[in-house]
């Protein structure tokens, strides 16, 4: 009997503490900006600097782009979020289409972020840039044999190509810009060329780079910062990037970025945050920690990344990634690109 009473009491205690836990409502103190973000690395330093500078606290809720957008939509006008961050221009485009952003007119942002890396309608802005290009094994491949994304469909790469799945967002965005550039029939031809080379599908850019280094394949497509991180650990890592399409359209770039939400409680603070993140100071921090490219052309690129030399970017507006993403997904399915 005694143990039963004890169990009961224990149960009540647990329920009580849970209730307490559920009911904990943070008391509003200092000014704060609430950030929903699907980008969750390499920004803490810049946030700290922002808080130091402005006294505005940043509260973040990390998540995956799709579900986070659903939460934002479900919360509607009572959402606590002031800013929504996500990786991939396609995601930004989709969020804008869903109406969760309010346009921002800011000279600072327009000045700091190149036009092709932000929404033409000022709803979102790219804050870091990533390039997705060709990677090759330095011991087995002569870089002179490599030129364009399209050329990876040449028969000489049969059985030597590693790709991520077509379901991977950065590949979808790459395909989407290809559609924008070349039109759907040509883009499909290119993808079919890759598929004809029977690429090994590997999940994870880092894994692809390791596979190239180990000799499982000789060339692949990845974002550059993954290589930079591997090289930072092992300078002799036998993989190097080749800037794709330099003679033609330029290397495909994508962004991570964000915008101010339509129902922001602290719109002014939110704009301040975006502006700060586009400044030289913050951009430098991004570049140093995540080894991405800063969007602000004045910021300095990380030494390892710099060693690969300058390159010509594809300057089509990254919003194309969203516009043609669904088409890209279907195209990949049709072409048999897994």
């Amino acid at each position: 009997m005694r143990s039963r009473a004890f169990t009961l009491r224990l149960g009540l205690a647990v329920i009580g503490s849970v209730a307490l836990f559920l009911g904990v409502a943070p008391a509003p103190a200092a000014e704060e900006v609430v950030l929903y973000t699907a980008r969750h690395y390499g920004q803490e330093k810049a946030f700290d600097a922002f808080t130091q500078k402005t006294g505005i606290q940043i509260k973040t809720l990390n998540g995956e782009a799709g579900p986070l957008l659903e939460r934002l939509k479900a919360e509607g006008e009572r959402s606590p979020a002031d800013v929504f961050f996500t990786v991939d221009a396609g995601n930004l485009w989709n969020a804008a289409r869903a109406g969760v952003f309010a346009p921002v007119t800011s000279a600072e942002l327009t000045k700091n972020v190149p036009a092709h890396l932000r929404d033409p309608e000022h709803r979102w802005f790219g804050l870091t840039m990533r390039a997705r290009t060709i990677m090759y094994n330095t011991k087995k491949v002569n870089p002179a044999d490599l030129s364009t994304y399209e050329a990876l469909g040449e028969p000489r790469w049969k059985g030597r190509l590693c790709l991520r799945s077509s379901g991977y967002i950065y590949n979808q965005s790459l395909l989407a810009t290809m559609i924008k550039r070349h039109g759907e029939p040509r883009a499909e031809q290119i993808v079919k060329g890759w598929v004809a080379n029977q690429p090994t599908i590997i999940s994870g850019d880092t894994k692809i780079l390791e596979a190239i280094a180990a000799g499982q394949c000789d060339v692949g497509l990845t974002n550059t910062y993954y290589l930079a991180r591997l090289l930072a650990k092992d300078p002799n890592f036998p993989v190097a990037p080749l800037w794709a399409n330099q003679a033609t359209t330029g290397t495909h770039v994508n962004v991570s970025g964000g915008g101010v939400t339509a129902h922001a409680k602290n719109r002014a603070g939110a704009i301040k945050l975006l502006e700060f993140l586009s400044t030289l100071e913050a951009q430098q921090m991004f570049a140093d920690t995540s080894m991405e490219f800063p969007v602000n052309p004045k910021a300095e690129i990380h030494a390892i990344v710099r060693s690969w030399g300058p390159f010509k970017q594809d300057d089509v507006n990254v919003a194309a990634a969203g516009e043609f993403q669904a088409a890209a997904t279907r195209l990949a399915d049709r072409a048999g690109y897994k």
């Binding site: 849970v18 690395y41 809720l61 998540g63 995956e64 180990a214 499982q216 669904a326």
Partner: protein
């Protein structure tokens, strides 16, 4: 009964939300899927479900019978240690596997060095690879349930059967196994539903299933409606499997009226048989636990120089503990109410409703999370309007982004774990016990407390740990529905691994394993010996 209906209904709401996606047409997506891949997806998905079902059944049942019915070196340790893989998140095992056995991993690299570059081994990134990993990850469900079923009646039944002239083998296959059927089915269906809902492992291994397609349609085509419709297909599939099992079961019943006391010792294995038994346990444990945890430790080791231990580890541990504990308690309570209600009113309809309410387990977490979001946000809207009317002022979001919403999502996702396990335990208590208690003037509630609960203590604890371990590892729903600032170990691990920062992710991942081990140890301790009464 009323409470049970309310629970079933509440938990079914997000599933209805999923079903309601059909209100919106998404015909062109379907046509596209039909043209390009739907058949392949279905084959892949069903194939995986079948392989994982058979795999977990064989491994889980085999190991459970081994440790219950035989004695061999190491048995005492294996008995509890074989549950350990449950505490390791599936994607960690998957990643460790790839890391170890991939082309660029140490095993193949060493083989190439020894045997030359021409060496080609079957690719782990295939249906078989996924099935293997999932079997290793999910077999503990079957193992746990089978073990408690075997412990309760296995050996006594075996003796009866052998006294009737059955060989040990025949007795096992013809008597012991069929008698444990409710438990085995519960375990296997949990494993299969997990396999159906899994996204992490299949995407890591590049194996395309319905769930993978759901994410692809959602993220790639920005079409959540079509994605949700696909998810309802998954739901249908899981439902069909359950209905099939019920149909095959027919009118057989599996309760046992006379219990034999415990204390029957397993047969001692000697010589090569003992070595095979020990070897089998070691092999499974090595692959499913030692290997991934070893990999984690290696990664954690890389950090020692940098000493970047997450500062917030105690906070993460705390919130993980509280959430998992609250989920374990509440979900077991819900499962118990549901299972008991079905026991009291055993109509096919009631059973179906109960089953239906536990179907959330077969859905990918993100789909559930969004399904939970809709009704919660709606409720918030109602509260808001009411508050405006009554208090004359608007209300902040009360439920959306609250721990309550997270717990609700856990209930939707994991009620299956609680319900199936508890139902299987309850099914082994003869109905005459209920009647005896009631004829002695004891009400239904007290009967539950005084008769059923003590008798199914083992099953209840099993349910509680399984829910505990599940919620501890749960990601999508926690991620989406949590309050601002609430973070669990799983979220920390995910944030780091999604950036391939495995070294930093190792410590919180190890913490997950440790937090999972805690209740596993506790149960083993609590259910090890009968403090009173036969077991």
């Amino acid at each position: 009964m009323l409470a049970a209906s309310a629970i079933a209904l509440a938990v079914a709401v997000p599933l209805l939300v999923v079903g309601a996606a059909w209100r919106h047409p998404a015909g062109d997506v379907w046509r596209h899927l039909w043209d390009t891949q739907l058949a392949g997806l279905l084959v892949n998905t069903l194939g995986l479900a079948a392989a994982v079902g058979v795999g977990t059944l064989v491994v889980g049942t085999g190991l459970a019978w081994l440790v219950v019915a035989y004695r061999f070196p190491g048995r005492r340790v294996f008995e509890w240690a074989l549950v350990l893989p449950l505490a390791v998140p599936a994607y960690v095992i998957g990643f460790a596997f790839l890391g170890m056995f991939d082309f660029s991993g140490p095993v193949q690299s060493a083989l190439r060095r020894a045997l030359g570059d021409g060496l080609r081994v079957p690719d782990l990134r295939s249906g078989w690879g996924v099935a293997l990993v999932m079997t290793l990850v999910f077999y503990p469900y079957v193992y746990l349930l089978a073990r408690s079923a075997f412990r309760e009646h296995g050996l006594a039944t075996l003796e009866t059967a052998r006294s009737l002239g059955h060989s040990r083998r025949r007795a096992f296959f013809e008597i012991v196994l069929p008698m444990a059927r409710p438990s085995l089915v519960a375990g296997v269906s949990l494993a299969v539903m997990e396999a159906l809902a899994d996204f992490g492992t299949v995407s890591t291994f590049g194996y395309r299933t319905l769930t993978e397609a759901i994410y692809r349609v959602w993220n790639g085509m920005f079409d959540r409606v079509a994605a949700t419709q696909l998810a309802s297909l998954l739901l249908l599939l899981a439902l069909a499997l359950l209905v099939l099992e019920r149909a095959l079961r027919g009118r057989r019943r599996f309760t046992q009226s006379q219990r034999r006391g415990g204390g029957v010792e397993g047969a001692r294995l000697r010589g090569w048989r003992a070595r095979v038994a020990t070897g089998a346990c070691l092999a499974v444990l090595g692959l499913a636990f030692v290997l991934p945890v070893g990999q984690l430790l290696l990664w954690a080791g890389e950090l020692v120089g940098g000493a970047r231990v997450p500062r917030n580890l105690p906070g993460l541990l705390g919130s993980t503990f509280v959430l998992a504990g609250a989920a374990a308690l509440s979900i077991c309570a819900l499962g118990l109410i549901l299972a008991y209600a079905v026991r009291l009113h055993p109509s096919p309809g009631a059973r179906f409703v109960a089953q239906l309410s536990s179907m959330g387990y077969a859905l990918p977490g993100a789909v559930i999370a969004v399904g939970v979001l809709a009704p919660i946000a709606w409720l918030d809207g109602v509260l808001h309007d009411v508050a405006k009317l009554v208090l004359g002022r608007p209300l902040d979001l009360l439920l959306t982004g609250s721990a309550g919403a997270v717990l609700f999502a856990y209930a939707v996702r994991f009620l299956a774990v609680g319900y199936q396990t508890i139902d299987a335990g309850l099914a082994r208590i003869p109905p005459s016990f209920d009647e005896a208690a009631r004829s002695l003037g004891v009400r239904l509630g007290s009967t539950l407390r005084r008769v059923h609960l003590p008798l199914m203590r083992g099953g209840l604890l099993t349910a509680a740990i399984m829910v505990w371990v599940e919620t501890m590892k749960e990601l999508p729903a926690t991620l989406l529905l949590r309050p601002l600032g609430l973070k669990t170990l799983a979220i920390e691990v995910w944030e780091l691994t999604s950036e391939s920062r495995w070294a930093e992710a190792a410590l919180p991942a190890i913490a997950i394993v440790l937090v999972g081990l805690f209740p596993l140890m506790l149960t083993t301790h609590l259910t090890a010996g009968p403090p009173h009464g036969p077991r």
